[in-house]
Each structure stands twice: as C-alpha cells, then as structure tokens.
C-alpha cells in the first residue's frame, strides 16, 4: 500500500487543471457540501436539459483527491442522461468502498479508475466522494424543482 498508488498521474493532472471548474448560469439547483473533519467545501450547480445533464459547474476548495475526483466527475456526467450519470456515480462509489479489491470498468469510469488506489486509504474515501455526493444531491433538487414548477 504505497502512497504513490494513491497519487496517480491522472489525479494530479486533474487537480492542477480542474475540468468544468467555476460557477455558470443557467442552473436549476445549487448545493453546498462540506467535509467537516477537514474543511473541504464545494458549491455545485446542475443544469438539466430534459433528461440530459447539460452542465455541472462548481466552486470548490480542498485536497487533490477531492478536487480531482470532482473534475473527473464533471467529465463523466456532463452530456449524459441523469440515469447514466447516476449509474456511473454508483459504480464509482462501489469502487471507493472496495478497499482496493475491485476491478473497475474503464469503459464506465474512464479516468475515474485512477482512484482505485485511494480506496486503500479509508480516511481519504470521503474526499473522493465529496463532489459526487454534491452532484447527486443537486440533481435530486433539480428534479424536485422541475416537478414543482
């Protein structure tokens, strides 16, 4: 269990150049999620176009794992349907809870498979899931808002 297995090149690249970072209009839901134990924070917006995730924009601060994971998530959900995005979120979450004993599907998770090493460090799993949990929450709000309007 080496620390190098956690900090994959892909993760550090995403960390240093976060995809989709910044807050944009329009959006149907906006949520804030925090990791109280370390102070990582994310403000995330979701824009749905019908069933399609048209945009995910965010303003986030935190460690390389939480930031890179959010960047990878952006790539994996934008342009897909909500259903596809939720399935990817479930696959990513399953991998993160595997303690590293898992063979992730690269066709589904793409750059996300780089986080398999992080799953070996239980203290960092919540870092990798911060952006994803914010996205799922925001989508749920957006769908509720749509029904109400």
């Amino acid at each position: 269990m080496s620390v190098e297995s956690m900090y994959q090149e892909i993760i550090l690249d995403h960390y240093k150049a976060k995809h989709g970072s910044g807050l944009r209009d329009p959006y149907e839901a906006e949520v804030t999620h925090v990791n109280p134990s370390c102070g990582d924070e994310i403000l995330l917006r979701v824009h749905l176009d019908g069933d399609t995730v048209a945009d995910v924009s965010y303003d986030a601060v935190g460690c390389s794992i939480s930031q890179a994971s959010t960047s990878v998530m952006h790539d994996l959900v934008v342009g897909r349907t909500v259903e596809e995005g939720m399935a990817t979120a479930a696959a990513f979450t399953e991998m993160m809870h595997s303690r590293g004993n898992h063979e992730p599907d690269e066709d589904v998770l793409e750059d996300g498979i780089a986080f398999l090493g992080v799953a070996q460090f239980p203290a960092r799993v919540k870092c990798a899931l911060l952006g994803w949990s914010a996205w799922k929450d925001a989508v749920a709000h957006a769908l509720t808002n749509k029904e109400e309007s």
Partner: protein, 442 residues
C-alpha cells in the same frame, strides 16, 4: 522512570553527541515505547503532540494497576476497595491542584476541556443572568471549543458575542481592541486561549485579566495548550476559571479539568444533574453539594484521574521549568529549519518569543501550486512523520488568515531535533513529489 544517565540510548542514532541543551528527549524517550516504532518503514517522528501527547509507561501502569488491584466506585462504596479507590481518586485531584498552585476543592473533573468550557458557559450564563445588551468576548484565534459554547450561550440569552482580532504576525490585536472599546462596561465574560493551538502565540494572560476585571467581567482561560508546557500558578495568573485537558499532558483521554476560584465556583449553579452532585434530593426539589462535587454528576473517570495524577508526578519530577525550556529550544530549532524549506510559509510568529511549540504552515510545490495540507500529511505519513492537516478546529482563524487549512507540526518534551530534521526532509520530498507533475496538458 527517566534514566538520569545522559549518555543513555534514546538519542535517535545521531552520529554526534546531542547538544546538552537538547538533553530532555534523551532522558525520557525510553519511557515512551511508541516512539520506538517504525511507521511505513521509517522511524516514527511524532509531531502531533498538540493534538494529543504520547503516554509514558508510568502513566499507563498507574492506570492499569488501579484497575487491576484497587478498582471500586468512589465516595459511596464503604468497603476497603472503595476506600482505596476514593483515596486514589482524591489523591489525583490533590496532585493536579498542587501542579497548578490551586486548592484541592477548586479542581473540577470533566470529560474534556470542551466540557469544561461548556460548564463555564452554562453556569456563568445563569449566574450572571446574561441577557440582551450583555457582551461575551472571545478571540478569532480560539479553538472551536472556546467559540461554540459561547455562541450557544449568546443564542440562548440574547447576549452579543464579540471577539479580538489578530495582527498580521499572529498576535492578539490589543491596540485595535482598545480603540474600539471591545472590552467595556457591557462585557460580562472574557474567554481566551492562553496559547494558540494553531499559531503557537502565547497571549498576555495577566494583562488580559486586568482588562476583563477592570470592567467587572469574569475571565476564563483555555489552558489546553499551555498547562502541558509551562509552569502554572493560578494564584498569580489572573484567571477566574481555567480549562485544560489530561490527554495533552501525558494523561489519558476522557478527562478534562476546570479550575475555578473557590469564591466563584461556590456561586455557580449546577451544570449536569445526577448522582454525587446533590446534597438532599426530594421529589419537590433538591439541594446541591459544594464544589467540586456540585459539578461532577455521576461516576467520574476514576482510573483516568489516577493516571493524570501519575502524569503530573512525571512532569513534576522532570520539572516544568525544564519542560518549558525544552519547548522553547525545540521550537526555536524547528522555526529555523522550517524557514529553510522553499515554498513554506509559517502562520503566526516566526521567532520563538512568547510562542509555544505548535507550528502551522502552508506549502507550495516547486511549480508554484498550493499543496493541500491533507496531501502534505499523506506524503509525510508515508515517511513516518506524523503531523496534523486541516483547520485544527479553528476555522474562523484560518478564514481570517485567508486560507482554508494548514499543516501543523507540534512538539513535546520527548521531541528530538532529528525528528524536526525528518520533517524538513519529508517536506522537501513533498514539494518535489507534487511539483513533478505539470498538469494542464490534458
């Protein structure tokens, strides 16, 4: 017990004899078995003592000996073991009292320093009949445990919470506080930390006490980072209440202390209700025991108090002057060495003047990227160096400094200079590790 032979092992393989000034770790390290461990293939460099200190054998043995041979409940079991347990428990209280220059009946045991401060906030709020128009003053450098209880008190009573700001070099901004009349005739409580758990700043407690008392306010001190590191005499400190915790001073977790001037404790109402804190209980109402029992509802942490007594014995045997001197030396050394690390910025005072041993810092990679403290911590841990990364339960302070989090190295009486060297080396490695990735090219 410490080996008094200066040439004894325990010096971490340094090729040259240590400078005599750094004698203390060599004397005590053998008493702390955990310090002999290797972590991730490297000798452990435990630099997280402001979080919790390691425990010497004497403390652990006192606790296990009590539990194995003298265990009974206190103050109510009338048999031989009950008498032994009560004597050991009250003996622990007497030792703690002597350690800080207090009367025995002024020492109240709580679950931790947080509970001690919550006790202070609850009982003072009621005693002072706090309400709208009254003010409570803290500072922006406080640990959450000396902010949130007062926020809750102000929410309950309608009183206003105000706070000291800090100067750019991380000291309490007394000048601007005076200019804006921060402490005034509306101030009912001033509660401040003695030593910052992030900046290391040692606050001028006696001067602050005068400021509080001049307007008739009660002065509460959070001594969590101070009592483990320096001689304390509550008779000259100026505080009315002083909170601290056992686990940062070689003792066990689960035990905090609230010292109070007896004349004040006597006037404070109970905090938690239950066994041991009462005088007479009737269904229509109860009367309450005198301090300290009034504030100690239920079966107390008996073995923990015995262990804290042993911790205090250990510290007293070394001498708190010597402990404080070592803290000063190792802090001076660490500040010097850390300032040689490129891209490292120390929060708080950069000279060991009125400064404790907690050193918080931020780190930038060789390509100019801020390395998050959790990532710093992770790389350091992979090289056996244990520090803390995060906001250290002081989010408002980090916000004030314009950052989200920091890394913190903190020393204690067993910390050797080569552990600081290991930290510096690991930090250089961390910079290179995160600097070697260009990013953005994807």
């Amino acid at each position: 017990m410490p080996d008094t032979d200066l040439s004894a092992a325990g010096w971490l393989g340094a090729s040259e004899a240590p400078p005599a000034a750094f004698a203390l770790p060599g004397l005590v390290r053998d008493d702390f078995p955990v310090l002999q461990r290797h972590v991730n293939g490297h000798p452990l460099a435990y630099l997280d003592s402001a979080n919790t200190s390691q425990k010497p054998r004497a403390v652990v043995e006192a606790m296990s000996n009590h539990l194995l041979f003298h265990n009974a409940n206190v103050a109510r079991a009338m048999h031989q073991l009950g008498a032994e347990a009560s004597e050991a428990f009250e003996g622990g209280r007497a030792k703690v009292a002597a350690f800080i220059g207090a009367r025995t009946e002024e020492v109240v045991f709580t679950k931790n320093a947080s509970e001690a401060l919550n006790l202070a906030a609850h009982t003072l709020g009621q005693h002072l009949a706090l309400g709208p128009g009254d003010e409570v003053v803290v500072s922006v450098m406080e640990h959450h445990s000396n902010i949130v209880p007062w926020q809750l008190l102000c929410q309950r009573t309608g009183a206003t919470l105000r706070w000291f700001d800090i100067t750019d070099d991380g000291r309490l901004d007394l000048d601007s506080a005076r200019e804006q009349g921060l402490v005034n005739e509306r101030t009912k409580v001033v509660s401040l930390t003695w030593v910052s758990n992030v900046l290391g700043t040692v606050n001028p407690v006696t001067e602050l006490a005068e400021m509080a008392h001049a307007v008739g306010a009660v002065f509460v001190v959070d001594g969590s980072q101070a009592v483990p590191q320096m001689p304390v005499d509550v008779t000259t400190l100026g505080a009315d209440l002083l909170a601290f915790t056992a686990h940062k001073m070689l003792g066990p977790t689960g035990l905090g202390v609230l010292w109070g001037r007896y004349e004040l404790l006597e006037q404070l109402p109970p905090f938690l209700g239950g066994g041991e804190m009462i005088e007479v209980v009737r269904m229509e109402g109860s009367t309450f025991a005198r301090p300290p029992a009034r504030f100690e509802a239920g079966t107390p942490p008996i073995a923990e108090v015995v262990a804290l007594g042993a911790a205090v014995d250990y510290l007293t045997m070394l001498g708190m002057d010597r402990v404080a001197e070592h803290e000063h030396l190792i802090t001076t050394y660490a500040l010097e060495q850390l300032q040689r690390v490129e891209g490292l910025r120390i929060l708080g005072p950069t000279e060991a003047v009125d400064r404790g041993g907690a050193i918080s810092f931020t780190l930038t990679s060789s390509d100019g990227f801020d390395i998050h403290p959790h990532d710093v911590m992770q790389i350091l841990d992979s090289r056996g160096v244990a520090v803390r990364g995060g906001h250290h339960c002081a989010r408002p302070l980090h916000h004030r400094l314009g950052i989200q989090a920091s890394s913190r190295a903190s020393a204690y009486l067993y910390t050797a200079p080569d552990e600081v060297d290991a930290l510096v080396e690991a930090l250089d490695h961390t910079r290179d590790f995160f600097g070697g990735h260009s990013g953005g090219g994807r």
